[in-house]
C-alpha cells in the first residue's frame, strides 16, 4: 500500500514539477521580451482631431482622401433647417512619403482657399527599451486665399498665410489620448480691423474611446495674441466612428474654416450663444504601395 502511495505521490510530484518548469521556461522567455521596443500606435483614429491635425500621419505609401463639411450655424432655426441649407466644404488629398513625412493639398469653398501642408513625426511614443512617453509632430501649412477683393488688387504674396504647429500627444491608456498644440499663425496682409500680422495660440484636445469603433473628441484653441478683437476661440466637440477603411467624424464647432489659419484666428462665432456649426469629416484610405 505504502509503495503504491509513494509511486502515485511521486508521479503527481513530477507532473507538478514539469508544469512549474513550463511556467519557468515561458516566464524566463517573457522576461527577456518585456524590455523589447514597441511603438505606441493609434493615438488618434485619424490625422484630424476635429478641426485641427493630430500627431498621426499615415504609413508609407498610403493616400488619404478627405472631405470636410461644415453646415450653417444651428441658431438659424427651422427656417434654414438648423444650418443644413448652408454649407462650406474642403476637399483634400494627402499622401505619406514615409512613415514620418506626410503632405497634403486642399481646397476650401470658404474664401476660395487653396492650402498645402507638410507634417513630420519628430518623436514617436514607444514602450520598452528607450521608451518615449509622448509623440511630437511638426506641422507647417500654407493657405492662399483666392477670393477676389473688389476694393483692391492683391499680389500673390498678399494672399498667403502660414501656420506652424508643434503637436505633442500622449496615449495615456488604450482609451484616452491627450494633445497639446502650440500654434503660430502669420498673415502677410492684414485686413482693416486687424491689429496684428501674427497670432499665437495654444490648443488642447483629446479623445476618449467609448467602444472599439466609437470615440468622443474635444478640441479648444486659446489665442494669446489675436488678429483682431472680434476673433473668438475655436471650440469643437465630436464623435469619431471607424468603419474599416473610413473614419467618420461628426462635430459641433463654432469655427467655419477647416484649415489651421482659419479656425484658429478667424473664428468669430460664440459657441455658448448657439453659433455652432454641425459638420463632418470623412476620410477614405487607399494603400498605393
Amino acid at each position: 500500500m505504502q509503495g503504491i502511495k509513494i509511486v502515485i505521490g511521486s508521479l503527481l510530484y513530477l507532473l507538478t514539477i514539469s508544469a512549474i518548469a513550463q511556467d519557468d521556461l515561458l516566464a524566463s522567455l517573457e522576461e527577456t521580451q518585456s524590455n523589447e521596443h514597441t511603438w505606441v500606435e493609434a493615438t488618434f483614429k485619424g490625422t484630424r482631431l476635429i478641426n485641427g491635425h493630430t500627431i498621426e500621419t499615415r504609413k508609407k505609401g498610403v493616400m488619404d482622401f478627405i472631405i470636410s463639411h461644415r453646415f450653417g450655424t444651428i441658431d438659424g432655426g427651422s427656417y434654414d433647417l438648423f444650418g443644413l441649407d448652408v454649407a462650406t466644404m474642403r476637399i483634400g488629398l494627402e499622401y505619406a512619403l514615409s512613415d514620418r513625412l506626410y503632405f497634403g493639398l486642399g481646397r476650401s469653398t470658404f474664401e476660395k482657399t487653396f492650402d498645402g501642408f507638410l507634417k513630420y513625426r519628430l518623436i514617436r511614443q514607444s514602450k520598452g527599451k528607450g521608451s518615449k512617453p509622448f509623440s511630437a509632430t511638426w506641422l507647417s501649412s500654407m493657405a492662399i486665399k483666392t477670393l477676389k477683393d473688389p476694393e483692391r488688387e492683391l499680389g500673390f504674396t498678399d494672399k498667403v498665410a502660414n501656420t506652424h504647429q508643434l503637436l505633442i500627444a500622449s496615449k495615456i491608456s488604450s482609451g484616452i489620448s491627450l494633445q497639446l498644440m502650440p500654434t503660430f499663425v502669420h498673415r502677410n496682409l492684414i485686413g482693416e480691423e486687424d491689429i496684428n500680422n501674427d497670432a499665437y495660440a495654444l490648443g488642447v484636445g483629446g479623445r476618449v474611446k467609448i467602444s472599439q469603433r466609437l470615440a468622443l473628441c474635444a478640441e479648444y484653441y486659446h489665442q494669446f495674441q489675436k488678429l483682431n478683437e472680434n476673433s473668438t476661440n475655436a471650440i469643437a466637440v465630436g464623435v469619431d466612428i471607424e468603419t474599416g477603411g473610413h473614419v467618420f467624424q461628426l462635430q459641433f464647432t463654432n469655427a467655419t474654416a477647416m484649415i489651421p489659419k482659419g479656425f484658429v484666428t478667424e473664428t468669430t462665432n460664440d459657441f455658448f450663444e448657439g453659433e455652432i456649426h454641425f459638420g463632418f469629416n470623412v476620410s477614405r484610405t487607399f494603400q498605393l504601395k
Partner: protein, 185 residues
C-alpha cells in the same frame, strides 16, 4: 522505519528535480517566425512576425513560445492598425504565448541526425484567453542545428476576438497559423 524511508525517498526526489531545474539549459531562438493566414470571400489576409521567441528544453521535452502581437506586420498598414486596435487589443493583451511539452519525448532521440515528427501538447494564450492546443511539429536535425516547424488552425471566436458584422466577410473565422524556429545546440 518505513516513515524514514519515505522521507528519504521524497527528499531525494526533491533534490533530483531541483537539480534538474538548475541544470536546465533550454535552446532559445529569438528570431522565430509566426505567420497567420485568413482566407475570406472579400480578401485574403496574411501577417508575419519575425521576432518570435521560442525555447525547447531537450532534457525534459518542454516547449515555450512567446511573441508580441505588435510584431505582426501586414501589407496594408491600416489593417495592422485595426488588428492591434480593434481585434487583438494589443495594448491590453500585448503577447501571445504557448507552453507545453512533447508527447512521447522519452522515445525520441534528438541526438540523431534527420527528420521526424512529434506531437506537442500544451496551452495557447491569445487575446488573454488560454485554450488547449495539440499540434504536430516537424523536427529536422542536421549538425548542431535543430529546426522546428508547425502549423495549426485556430478559431478566432475561441479566443474571444470579436469581428463586427460590417467586416465579417473580410476576415475568416478560422485562421491558419504557422510557426518556425531554428535552434543551435
Amino acid at each position: 522505519m518505513k516513515k524514514i524511508k519515505t522521507s528519504i525517498y521524497i527528499l531525494l526526489l526533491i533534490i533530483i528535480s531541483v537539480s534538474k531545474i538548475l541544470a536546465q539549459n533550454p535552446l532559445i531562438d529569438h528570431n522565430g517566425t509566426a505567420t497567420f493566414f485568413s482566407e475570406a470571400p472579400m480578401e485574403d489576409i496574411e501577417a508575419i512576425n519575425r521576432k518570435v521567441i521560442g525555447a525547447i528544453d531537450l532534457q525534459k521535452g518542454i516547449l515555450a513560445v512567446t511573441m508580441q502581437i505588435k510584431g505582426f506586420h501586414f501589407d496594408k498598414s491600416l489593417m495592422e492598425e485595426h488588428f492591434n486596435e480593434n481585434y487583438l487589443e494589443s495594448d491590453k493583451y500585448p503577447k501571445a504565448s504557448f507552453k507545453g511539452m512533447i508527447k512521447n519525448f522519452s522515445e525520441l532521440d534528438f541526438s540523431k541526425q534527420g527528420n521526424f515528427e512529434a506531437q506537442a501538447i500544451g496551452e495557447l494564450e491569445i487575446h488573454g484567453v488560454t485554450k488547449p492546443l495539440k499540434t504536430m511539429v516537424q523536427f529536422a536535425i542536421s549538425g548542431d542545428k535543430i529546426s522546428a516547424n508547425t502549423s495549426f488552425d485556430i478559431s478566432i471566436a475561441d479566443h474571444d476576438i470579436k469581428i463586427p458584422r460590417l467586416v465579417i466577410k473580410n476576415i475568416a473565422e478560422v485562421v491558419e497559423v504557422k510557426a518556425s524556429f531554428n535552434f543551435s545546440m
